[in-house]
Assembly symmetry: C2
Homo-oligomer: 296 residues x 2
């Protein structure tokens, strides 16, 4: 068994600016800070797992542009194996993220190239050698292939789903753990309340469904039970990537046989700690830091 | 005489995204196009002059980050001499530019590092060897030094002023040509109408004052005369940098002894042609292209 988790999803280069004035469209405005950092749901979740000592690999693709090289360098630095990431003709996923100090609002403009993200050849041995597979919804054909392979080995499959697309709904029946945004829960089930959405997803697919609600914590429906886990109260510097860290930490905790409720608390603590600095990977917590927060 | 024009001002790396949906703050939104291109008022004006066959050099500074290297590479590619550009500890000027198709509205978030832009040592021989000096308002101490040196040689001094700051008003008395935005004209003179502002600046400083008004053309006050020059009617792909191209083309036309009214028409044509492609330097026109448009 070579990896704890293999991920199939996008890896992004996030250009993060902190607004120095109240943002408005149609104007020229200064930023007080500008940083560049790797991002992307699966990629940052894998970086979280690596930070906690797990063996993580990404099976995805970047473009053959300078952004791709920087994305790969960032993942390598984070301890994620990128040997199975294809470098393909086209543009890498890139995002400009506008953060606003003292306000949990972010504006993101992103770009990627479908030619880079679709029709990807995956390494079946790599996928099936892992104990778990983590997918997002940005490379649905590759994610579906990987999930089908993983299903045959009995490895754990987690999906991080943010927005409903037809291809996303096709992925859900293959997943053991559906960890979805509040918006996804609402759109996929037509239930306005996250706890209703969690229950509906759980009863529809018969698998664990967890709906994340940011500062409002999360609702989990599993084996007929429904429970809420509060978020940790923090003064966030930047919430970029907190959800991605939650996914990585939750999956890794479950792989270490942490009981479900504890694992969710562990993931909440990790997500809170990741908000201490700017960018999705600016303050990835160690296991020790998470345990300290949990013990407090 | 080594250069036609030496410029003192910022050189930027512009990251330009084209909105695929109606922009809104607080959302995640796709971009249909993402490109990277050098920008900055003086830098793009110099690239325009080089494109037209002029000898142009930048005396400025970039940070010692990867953005700085790309800014310099872009200027070299454009034929601008960057031998006198300092690479200093800190961040380069960078901007995210959001363009909206079919609409003359752009949103810009920019960042730079005052440590890079202030306290710069300039090469007096370089500045005074040129026939003309072009300054903007982003490096006021360096611009003031350069203008004072240039004054002693009798070379032409043009300022591109966009916003009023105290340091900008200090620069104006040293300039032969004040080519300013409508907003600057309004703020510097308290006159709402651009023709009034041009006349007021001209009478205050006794030098040529030209107020640019985008698609509304420009108003010029010079030697007691006041006249309007219309803009060329075009279907712009992107107006980023059109003003910078106007400045470069106007200065270069004047250096080639083009009569003033003709030189302004020449600059208007060059600015219009620069809107044919995305980015400030995406379609810098040649002299032949400008003459073709003027002859039509």
């Amino acid at each position: 068994m070579r990896y704890d988790v293999v991920g199939v999803g996008i890896a992004s280069l996030d250009l993060i600016g902190v607004a120095a004035t109240e943002p408005q469209l149609g104007a020229k405005q200064p930023l007080s800070i500008w940083i560049e950092m790797g991002g992307g749901p699966v990629a940052t979740a894998l970086a979280t797992i690596a930070r906690m000592g797990g063996r993580a690999a990404l099976a995805g693709a970047v473009g053959n542009d300078p952004y791709g090289a920087r994305i790969l360098a960032g993942l390598r630095e984070a301890g994620v194996d990128v040997g199975a990431v294809s470098v393909r003709p086209g543009g890498s996923h890139i995002a400009f993220v506008l953060a606003e100090p003292g306000r949990d609002r972010r504006t993101v403009w992103w770009h990627n190239d479908q030619a880079v993200l679709t029709g990807l050849s995956l390494d079946r041995d790599l996928i099936t050698s892992a104990r778990a597979l983590l997918i997002d919804t940005h490379m649905p054909d590759a994610a579906l292939t990987a999930a089908r392979w993983m299903r045959t080995t009995g490895g754990l499959i987690m999906i991080d789903a943010e927005r409903v697309r037809e291809s996303t709904l096709e992925l859900l029946p293959h997943c053991d753990l559906m960890v979805v945004s509040e918006r996804f829960g609402r759109e996929a089930t037509s239930f306005a309340e996250p706890w209703e959405a969690a229950r509906a997803l759980h009863s529809r697919y018969g698998r664990l469904a967890l709906v994340t609600c940011g500062v409002e914590g999360s609702w989990c429906a599993h084996e007929g039970e429904l429970f809420h886990t509060p978020a940790f109260e923090i003064e966030p510097v930047d919430t970029t990537g907190a959800g991605d860290v939650f996914h990585g930490a939750l999956l890794y905790a479950l792989l270490r046989d942490t009981p479900l409720r504890e694992a969710i608390r562990y993931a909440s603590a990790a997500a809170a700690l990741s908000c201490r600095a700017l960018g999705g990977r600016g303050s990835l917590p160690t296991i020790g830091e998470v345990e300290t927060l949990l013990g407090a």
